[in-house]
Each structure stands twice: as structure tokens, then as C-alpha cells.
Symmetry: C2
Subunit: 329 residues, 2 copies
């Protein structure tokens, strides 16, 4: 058993991480590369990034020892309809010298498994977008939201950025002087916090500055909202509270009111120590008292654990989870 | 005075209308053509459509009798920064044989003037988008919303369509059977009202069906919401009420709480006899009791009236309004 190695990858939009681990929890190697999602980056680039991360992880490992692997990927379900993407993954796997099979899981399942070993529970993710999902027997079951910025992602980074701009526009419409958050947004979007003599000119300039970029770039304003909320700026505090409510509402669409199974929170906005993470955890604890709450951690290790669970020598998956997947800091 | 003719044009996104009127209210000609907005259609096409509408209106008029003209245009303010657009308008004007000057006004001002002769008041417009504006001395003063679908247009046709799809997605997330409005949306967007065995497949198909089109096309779903509200479908009735609240809120951003000046409602969603028009007028009457409420009517005639007001022989603009601008049906 100590010879066996498992490999996990966590493929994100901006970075890919890989880990090679023994079943005793020894970390033999890690790898890191750029974003490797075949849907957003194309099959060739995805294969190159995944290959780079994989090679980093198994550089000092005899490939024959690697007995199982798993890849966590946003939109994993689409890979089955994308032969080029699947072929690119196969090639990257082979080119790294690996001969064992590998599984592809949704990133939400991997985020869930990075926070708990429980086969059943809920995962709530907020980054650029937002989604909640039920996990049954370590498979994604029902989901709520994740509908994208145009139709959903309530409480996400996109939502925070858009709502912050909307509050600023409402202030300008009413002839009010922008508050501290509005001032930061003006500087970020227009290069100056000065409101024109005709406030409508500033309104038009803001609308123009936002609409000349891709809509999803509104998510880049979320850190300004978070920072303003840390400073107790009232508009930002209100938006953070509303976002936490939306995220908890999404979880409530799929999680029974009396559930006591774990909830894992993940995504850039909830894994960092932000006022939103605090507000979401408080809201979850209020709605589901007694349910264990944890934060998503090392996705690559969690993917490796998901792969290892199917090996015949693994008899206690929960114990293996404690060895392989470090708790979030 | 009876020799004097004034010409007005109402240039919209999908149609252009022109009217030639005497100062006694005799309608000497009308013209109609396709959308003629230089921003959305290009200067050449705009000039061609405006020219066609103008020629229709003055076909039987001695051009030397035309003493004043005005054009109502969405985004009129941008025309000053668009020399090509301005030159195209000049050319269309000359090619129709007209030698008098003409003014270009925002479409919101023309909609306002088509509903009242009062120099001061409020106009509230809801079509694909939504905007409210204060009018002072027959010029557009402050505005609220009109921020476009990404950041605003609360209560507009876009908003109604998007919110209707969001309610349907929320029902599917929760495993609920869609109601009557949701069923109509499924048929419209997916060609069938059947929900897949895995409702998430229907969710994904809906998100795909919406996001593969231009976002603003969500406004095409607004008539389904209006029709469902006529049938008292509860989700649609709720959305219509929320839209009316948003539209009245936009007006309240710029209109004092104690204002008694007229309010004119315009745009395709408020000039037709729809539940939204009824709800908006009820909400406006509740918030501003005693203020006259009217519906936008003939924009081309209103533009002609705006042009005529500056002629020296016009001494009673309100009386002239009664002669030139027919009340909305």
C-alpha cells in the first residue's frame, strides 16, 4: 500500500494545481500552471497547462506507482460533448507518463471534498459566479443558481460589482454626493472621483466605461466592495449582507430546512477571510444550526482523495481524507 | 399665419414618423419609414429613412411654406459628437426641399410633449429600456435610470423578460413544476414545455437558449409576461407589480414628493392598454395625488409643436398644442 500513489488536479479559470500523494499522506510532488479549462482556453492550451502541472507533480515519482487520478474542472459535464477537450486531457495524461485511468469531476464536487469527507452535504461557491449544490454519495446531485451573470449568480463577485455601480448611479441620479464606496468606484472606472457639473455626464461616462468591457469584468469591482465593507462603509456593508442572503437563499433552494449534514463554502470570495465569508457563515449557521461548516481547501489533494477512494486497499475513506486533505487554513 | 407649415419627426428604433401641419392644426401630410437612428443604423441608412418619412409628409406641401421643424431622437445628445450623423440629417432635410432650420430633441422630451403642453413635468418611459426625466421649460433636466440593460432599465421590457426567466429557473432548481407563465417561457425558448427527467438539463438548456442571443432580446419575452398577467397568472401579476414599483421609484429619484405638475407615461409598455400601464398609473396616482397623468401620443405632431413654439406668430403655445397634438387614444 505504501507504494501506491494517487494524483489529483484542480483546474481553474486562472490556475491549475496538481498533487501526487501516497496513501499515507506523503506529498511526493506538486505542480502549478495557468488556467486549463478547455471550454474557455481551448483544448490545446488546456492540455499544455494540465500537462505542465502534472509533470511538476510527478517529476520525482515512478509513473508506474500512480494507480489512480482525478481532475476537477468547471463545466466537467460539457467535456463528454467535447471530444477534442477529452483527447487533449488524455494526451496530457499519457505525456506525463501516467498509465492509470482518471476521472473528471465538477469543480463544485472537488471543492466540497476539499472541506469534508462526508459523502452527503451541501457546497456553496461564490467567486466570479455563484452556485450551490447538494452532494449525495460524493456525486453532485441537485444544483441551484450557477445560471451565469445574465440570469443569475446572485451574491457573486459579478453581482457585488454590478450592484455597487447601480447604487452609485442611483446616487448620481438623485444628485447625491457619492459615499466612500462610490468614490472608489469612480476612481477605478473613470480615473477620478470628481462628479461632473451635470451629474448625468458622469452617469453616462460610468455606463460607457462598464459597457465597453465584457459584462463579467464587473466582478473585478468586488474587491472594492469587500475592502469598503472592512472599513464599515454603510453601502458596502449593506451589499455584503444582501449577497450573503442571496447565497444562503440559493443553498435553501436545494438543502432541506432541517438538514444537519455538512456545508462547505468555496470560491475566492468565501475561502478568503472576507466580511462576505463571515456573513455567509453566520447566515448558514442561523438557518441550519448544528450543521458542520467548513471552508474549501486544497482542491488537488481532494481530487486525489476522490480518485483513491475506489482503490481496493482503501477501506476507510474518512481516515484517508484526514491523511490526504489538509484542512483549510 | 395660415400659410405657415411646421414639420415634426419622431425617429425610433424600428420606425420613423413625420407630420406636416399648419398652425391651425390642419394635417397636410404624414410620412412613415423604418428606424432612422444614426447611432444604431448608421448615418447613411438613418438619412435614407428620415428622408423617406419627410418626403411623405411634405409631398403635397410647397417647401417654402415650411417655417420650422424638429426631430425627436433617442440619444439626441450624441448627435453633436457625430458629424456624419448630423450631416446625414442635414442632407435629408435639404433633399426634401426644406430650407428652414430644424432642432433635434431627445425622444423623452418629444414623448413628454406628446402628452401635455405644460412646460414643466415628468416623463416616464418603459419599452425595451426604461427612463424617467424631469422636464423644465420644455427641456430635459435631470434623468433617472436609462442606464441600459446591464446596469439598469429597472421595470423595462428587458427587466420583465429576465425576471420571468429567473423565476422559472428558481422553480426548476427547487424541483417545482413551472406555472402557466413558466410553461409559456419553456415553449417559447425551448420549443416544448416538457421538463427533463433531470430538471438541471432543462435549466442548462434555458441558460444556453438565452445566452446564445443578444441579452437585450430578453425584452421579447415581456409580451408573454403581460399576456399572462392579463390572465391573472400569479407570477406574472407579481412581476408586473414589481416593475411598476421600480418605474415609480425611478420617477421618485428626480420628481419631488409634493410635485403637482403633469406626468406623461410613454414607451411601448405604457402606451398600450396593458396591466403594466394600469399598475404604473395607479402607483403614480398614489404617490403624487392631484398630478395630471397622461399617455404619450403622436410624437411627430409633438415635435412639430415644439418647433412651432419659437415662431413669432405663436403667442399661446398651450392653445396651439390643443390644435396640433391629438390626445392619445
Amino acid at each position: 500500500m505504501s507504494d501506491t500513489v494517487v494524483v489529483g488536479l484542480d483546474v481553474g479559470g486562472t490556475s491549475t494545481r496538481a498533487a501526487a500523494l501516497t496513501l499515507t499522506g506523503q506529498r511526493l510532488g506538486t505542480g502549478r500552471a495557468g488556467g486549463g479549462n478547455p471550454t474557455s482556453h481551448g483544448a490545446e492550451r488546456a492540455a499544455a497547462e494540465i500537462g505542465a502541472a502534472l509533470r511538476g507533480a510527478v517529476a520525482d515519482v515512478d509513473p508506474a506507482r500512480v494507480r489512480a487520478g482525478a481532475i476537477g474542472l468547471a463545466g466537467a459535464g460539457r467535456l463528454h460533448a467535447d471530444p477534442d477537450g477529452r483527447a487533449a486531457f488524455d494526451r496530457a495524461w499519457r505525456d506525463a507518463g501516467l498509465r492509470c485511468p482518471y476521472a473528471v469531476h465538477g469543480d463544485a464536487l472537488v471543492a466540497y471534498a476539499s472541506g469534508t469527507a462526508s459523502p452527503d452535504g451541501t457546497v456553496l461557491i461564490a467567486g466570479t459566479g455563484a452556485i450551490a449544490a447538494q452532494v449525495r454519495d460524493l456525486r453532485l446531485d441537485r444544483a441551484a443558481d450557477g445560471h451565469g451573470w445574465l440570469l443569475g449568480d446572485a451574491g457573486s463577485g459579478f453581482w457585488l460589482g454590478r450592484e455597487a455601480v447601480r447604487r452609485l448611479l442611483a446616487d448620481l441620479d438623485q444628485g447625491r454626493q457619492p459615499g466612500a464606496l462610490g468614490t472608489r468606484l469612480l476612481t477605478e472606472l473613470l480615473g477620478s472621483d470628481r462628479v461632473a457639473a451635470r451629474p448625468r455626464d458622469t452617469v453616462d461616462a460610468l455606463v460607457q466605461a462598464v459597457t465597453c468591457r465584457a459584462p463579467v469584468e464587473l466582478a473585478r469591482l468586488a474587491p472594492l466592495v469587500v475592502a469598503a465593507a472592512v472599513d464599515a462603509e454603510p453601502v458596502a456593508v449593506g451589499l455584503i449582507g444582501a449577497a450573503a442572503g442571496h447565497l444562503a437563499d440559493s443553498a435553501a433552494r436545494i438543502r432541506p430546512a432541517d438538514a444537519v449534514e455538512p456545508v462547505v463554502v468555496g470560491g475566492g470570495l468565501l475561502t478568503a477571510d472576507t466580511p462576505l465569508a463571515t456573513a455567509v457563515c453566520a447566515e448558514l449557521a442561523r438557518r441550519w444550526p448544528g450543521a458542520p461548516l467548513s471552508t474549501a481547501g486544497d482542491g488537488a489533494a481532494a481530487a486525489a482523495w476522490l480518485a483513491a477512494r475506489d482503490l481496493p486497499e482503501v477501506t476507510d475513506p474518512a481516515a484517508l481524507h484526514a491523511l490526504l486533505v489538509p484542512p483549510a487554513a
